[in-house]
Each structure stands twice: as structure tokens, then as C-alpha cells.
């Protein structure tokens, strides 16, 4: 039971990291990114590939961050003239493109099989990953990201992107350059997401193209919407909640002995229903965005 709870806690931390990143881009800057998972995927693959080449973990994380930032830059520049709905679909297309490449380029990414044997970060004497240590690392990462996101959203940068989010014409009339703001928000978000992806790779010891399925982006979106778009603490809460539901289902599956198709269906369906209910009843999320005067 303890190891199961620790597992859920660790995954919640990783997804909280992804949620905070998406919230920065979608919540504060209003950029509906539906290809978001590509950032995490790039980070995960970077870590996996560099580890398999023998480099230490931080190198992989760094390369992942740089690569994800490049993808983020491309997405943001792609969107400079696009209305938000169209841009959402464009980002979806970019993510699918990256996933297709990952699926096909065996020499780099291991193709459909992915890359396994990604080394654990904290090895105990027996070679098994020290789960508690990893959890603490993940928790520390979330704390740092939370601190950064709160500071960014409350400060001048946050006001700039929030104004741009709702009233771009007003923002432009005051002298804000919208494209650089969008790029900065997207690229920062990509960097944080990439770290989350790297952590996931090391935790699961495995990376595969399925990490970048559109459905993964949708799960993260669900976490952010349920928790509260535009509220940093909210998305952390959302990540915990959704991850708990997500993990409870396979648990019940083994307990109740139901087929994996049905388990998959229940998981997906529950998330969908919860998301829909949230949107209908409380679109702001459990912890809606706080409208506060700058202190």
C-alpha cells in the first residue's frame, strides 16, 4: 500500500510539473496548446537517448530543455497570426508530427518499441531505484516550479501576458509586442514541461512514442481545467486528483478482475465525465483564478 501511495504521489508531482507549465501558457497567456505533450515527450526522449549514450542525467535534462524550447519557439512563431482555435489545432498537428517521427526513426528513438532501461536516478545498494528519494526530488522540482510560476504570474511579466490574453488590441496600443510575449510564455512553459518529461523517463525507466499521444495532452488539460485554469495551486491540486482517479482504476481492475479494455474505458470515461461536469458546473475549476489587486 505504501509503495502504491508513493507511486501515485510521485506521478502526481511529475504531472503537477506539467500542469504548472501548461497553466503558464494556457492559463495566464491564454495560449490553447493542444500539442503540449510534445514538450514533455522531447524532454523524456532526450534524457533516454543521452543516458543510453552514457551521459549523466543532468546532461539529458539540459538537452531536453533546449530541444523543447526550440519546439516551443516554432509553435509560438507558427501562431503569430492565428486565432486561438486554429492555433490549438496547429499545435496538435506539430505534436503528432513529432510523435510520427519518434514512431518511425528507429535508429534514434527505438521506433514503436521506444527506449527502455533508462537508468534510475537514485540507486540503492541492490540497484533498485530508491523511490522515496525520487519522490523527494520530484516534490522539490514542483516546489521550485510553483515558486517561479507564482512570481512570474504576479509580477510585470504576468500582468503583461494576462493583458495580452484578454485584450490584445489594448495591449498593443500600450506598446506591448505580442509575439515576443507569446514566445516567452510558450518557451518557458516548454522548458518546465521538458524537465517533467525527463523525470518521467527516469522514473518509468522507459520512453515510448505513446507518451506523445494526443490523449496525454488531454489528460494534462483535464488536470488543469479541473484544478483551476489560471491558478497555480489549483493545477497542482488538479494533478493530484486526476492522477488519483487514474491510478485507482487499474487498482480496481486488479481487484475486481475486469478486462483491460473495460478498465481503459472506465478510466477514460471517468476523466471525460469529470471534465465535462467541471466545465458545466464550475468552469473556473476547483480553485479558480484569483482576481487580486497587485500588492
Amino acid at each position: 500500500m505504501y509503495s502504491f501511495l508513493l507511486h501515485v504521489a510521485t506521478l502526481s508531482c511529475i504531472y503537477a510539473l506539467l500542469g504548472l507549465a501548461l497553466n503558464l501558457q494556457a492559463g495566464f497567456a491564454g495560449l490553447l496548446n493542444f500539442g503540449f505533450v510534445a514538450f514533455a515527450g522531447v524532454g523524456a526522449y532526450a534524457s533516454a537517448i543521452t543516458s543510453s549514450l552514457g551521459y549523466p542525467a543532468p546532461v539529458g535534462v539540459l538537452i531536453g530543455v533546449i530541444a523543447a524550447m526550440v519546439v516551443g519557439f516554432a509553435m509560438a512563431r507558427l501562431g503569430r497570426n492565428l486565432a486561438s482555435d486554429y492555433w490549438a489545432i496547429a499545435t496538435l498537428a506539430v505534436a503528432e508530427l513529432i510523435r510520427t517521427v519518434a514512431l518511425n526513426e528507429n535508429w534514434l528513438t527505438g521506433g514503436a518499441q521506444g527506449i527502455s532501461g533508462v537508468p534510475a536516478l537514485f540507486r540503492s545498494a541492490s540497484g533498485v531505484q530508491n523511490d522515496l528519494a525520487f519522490f523527494l526530488l520530484a516534490l522539490a522540482m514542483v516546489a521550485i516550479a510553483l515558486f517561479a510560476c507564482v512570481r512570474l504570474s504576479r509580477g510585470r511579466f504576468g500582468r503583461a501576458i494576462r493583458l495580452m490574453r484578454e485584450e490584445p488590441a489594448l495591449a498593443a496600443s500600450l506598446g506591448y509586442q505580442l509575439v515576443p510575449l507569446k514566445v516567452k510564455a510558450t518557451v518557458t512553459s516548454a522548458a518546465i514541461a521538458s524537465v517533467g518529461g525527463s523525470l518521467l523517463a527516469h522514473y518509468m525507466s522507459f520512453v515510448g512514442p505513446d507518451y506523445m499521444l494526443a490523449s496525454e495532452t488531454f489528460v494534462i488539460w483535464t488536470m488543469v481545467m479541473i484544478g483551476g485554469l489560471g491558478n497555480n495551486l489549483g493545477v497542482v491540486l488538479g494533478a493530484l486528483l486526476v492522477e488519483a482517479i487514474y491510478s485507482a482504476v487499474p487498482f480496481a481492475k486488479d481487484y475486481l478482475n475486469i478486462s483491460s479494455d473495460i478498465a481503459g474505458a472506465v478510466r477514460l470515461g471517468t476523466i471525460g465525465v469529470v471534465l465535462l461536469a467541471c466545465l458545466l458546473v464550475r468552469p473556473g475549476g476547483l480553485l479558480p483564478e484569483k482576481i487580486r489587486s497587485a500588492t
Binding site: 486554429y86 490523449s215 466545465l279 468552469p283
Partner: protein
């Protein structure tokens, strides 16, 4: 060459109906309905279910289309209209949730394995060196035939005129006496039915499986956006363009670039072709290649 044309036509009819359905309803709802492609999946499974109860294929198809059309109207009235009050982004995310629920329901009921319609094995017809099956001919005929019918409906009938009026300016149309709710529901029903038809045809030429809708998402949106959202015939043209590009890309020998022969783009990259086209289209012509609208600032 003939094989190429056949391939293009088959692929076009796969995505065309669903794309046209999406386009038809877009100007009314003003948000990209991600659940739309799942209507195709629903239709395919609906036809399968009705077919399995003993109904002949054509009746099962009609039943599934009607049922899916009704589902589309129901979802629009009960869910999307409410969500739209909170904005188009919320509606889009809501369509995501509906999409997940629809897939979950079908996954739970039917499982993840592929199915085929029991229309009996038909031997392919040979035209020279190309082979084409009766199913494929049915699909192509159905697809293009329906688009032709739709064109007649939209441009030659009073109903179609109301629909086009509603599409371009709902408020104004309502003010001139077009019964808003009925036309909206009619358009929604039509889009759902078209998607169901497209999905069944796809199930006919390939297989019926729970991922059918999700696989259609990007090609369908690419076709609809290329043709200009709200321009149904444009969506058909977009579908043709996408299919041509996809088939071309994987059939062209790029050997001359590398000084050898037999250098082909791997078939697994075929979907990437439509994504790239979509991205290029969004970059240069986000309102579609047929865009002629004048926008006053």
C-alpha cells in the same frame, strides 16, 4: 496511374464526408468540435450493430446516420450550447471531454479489436493493372454522390438558402424570419449524419475500430480548414487536395534527389503529409485557400 487515381479517390471519400460535415456546422457553433470525428466512429459502430441484428447493410446505414444525427443534435442542445456561454475555448475543451466519453463508451461496449461488416466477400474488379473492390466503389460513389446532393440542397433549395443564411450571419438570418432553432438543429443533424456516413464508408473500406475517429482528427480538420471552415464544398476540395498530397508523397520516387532509385517516403509517414499541409495552410491561408472575405478593422 489509374491505381494512383483510385487511391486518391478512396482516401478522399474517406475524409470528405466527415470534413464536409464539420465545415457545415462550424459557422454556427464557431468552435472546432473535436467530438465531430467521433460521430464518424459512432456511425460506423451503429451500422455494425444494426447490421448484426439482421438488417441489411443499407438500412443499417440509414438507421445509424439518423441515430448519430440525433445524438449530434442532443449533444449540441444539452451540452455545447451551455458551454458556449462560457466561451469558445471552454466549448472546445468540452468537445474534448465528449470525445473521451464517446470513445470510452464504445471501448467499454465493443472492445478495442477491429470489426468488419458482414457484407460478404466480394471479389475485386480489375481495371487493367489496378484492382478495386466493390466496397471501395460504394464508398467513392457514396461520398461524391452525397457531396453532389448537398451542393444541390444548399444552392438550389429554399432550405439550403436558409442554412447558408444562418451560416454566414445567424443574427441577421433570425431577424429576417429564418427559424433559428430549427435550422440550427437541422444543420447539426445533417453534419452528424454526414459524419456517420463517412465513418461507415471508412469502416467499409478499412475496418471498424474504436480509434477510427481519433485517426481522422487531423486529416479532417486539415481538409476543412484548407477549404475554409464554413465552406462545405471547399472542405470537399480540401479533402481531395490532402488525399492527393498524401498519395503523391508516398508514391513519388525521390531517388533523383539522392542519385539512386527507389527512394520512397515510408508509408508510416503518410499521415505526416496532411499535418504538414495543415501547418503550411494555417501559416499562409488560415481562412482557407478559397478565402475572399474582406474584413474591415
Amino acid at each position: 496511374m489509374l491505381q494512383f487515381i483510385v487511391d486518391v479517390l478512396i482516401r478522399t471519400s474517406d475524409i470528405m464526408l466527415v470534413a464536409v460535415g464539420l465545415s457545415v456546422v462550424y459557422s454556427l457553433v464557431k468552435f472546432p468540435n473535436i467530438a465531430h470525428v467521433q460521430y464518424a466512429m459512432l456511425g460506423a459502430f451503429g451500422t455494425l450493430a444494426l447490421n448484426r441484428t439482421g438488417l441489411p447493410f443499407s438500412l443499417a446505414l440509414i438507421g445509424a446516420c439518423v441515430a448519430t444525427g440525433l445524438v449530434a443534435v442532443l449533444l449540441n442542445v444539452l451540452v455545447f450550447k451551455r458551454l458556449l456561454r462560457s466561451g469558445s475555448s471552454i466549448a472546445m475543451i468540452g468537445s474534448l471531454a465528449i470525445s473521451m466519453i464517446l470513445v470510452a463508451v464504445v471501448l467499454g461496449v465493443a472492445g478495442s479489436r477491429p470489426f468488419r461488416y458482414s457484407s460478404g466477400l466480394s471479389s475485386p474488379i480489375n481495371l487493367g493493372s489496378t484492382a478495386i473492390s466493390v466496397d471501395q466503389i460504394t464508398s467513392i460513389a457514396c461520398g461524391f454522390g452525397c457531396v453532389a446532393l448537398l451542393a444541390v440542397l444548399l444552392f438550389k433549395t429554399g432550405v439550403g438558402r436558409s442554412m447558408r443564411a444562418m451560416s454566414s450571419n445567424p443574427a441577421l438570418a433570425a431577424a429576417t424570419g429564418v427559424d433559428g432553432a430549427r435550422v440550427v438543429n437541422g444543420i447539426t443533424f445533417l453534419s452528424g449524419a454526414l459524419a456517420a456516413l463517412g465513418g461507415t464508408m471508412l469502416g467499409l473500406t478499412e475496418t471498424v475500430h474504436v480509434g477510427l475517429g481519433t485517426n481522422l482528427l487531423l486529416p479532417v480538420f486539415a481538409a476543412a480548414i484548407l477549404g475554409g471552415l464554413g465552406n462545405p464544398l471547399g472542405a470537399a476540395a480540401g479533402a481531395l487536395l490532402i488525399s492527393t498530397a498524401e498519395t503523391l508523397v508516398t508514391n513519388l520516387d525521390f531517388g533523383w534527389l539522392f542519385g539512386t532509385s527507389d527512394v520512397y517516403v515510408p508509408v508510416t509517414y503518410i499521415s505526416a503529409a496532411s499535418f504538414v499541409i495543415l501547418l503550411v495552410a494555417l501559416l499562409f491561408k488560415p481562412y482557407g485557400i478559397f478565402d475572399r472575405e474582406v474584413r474591415r478593422v
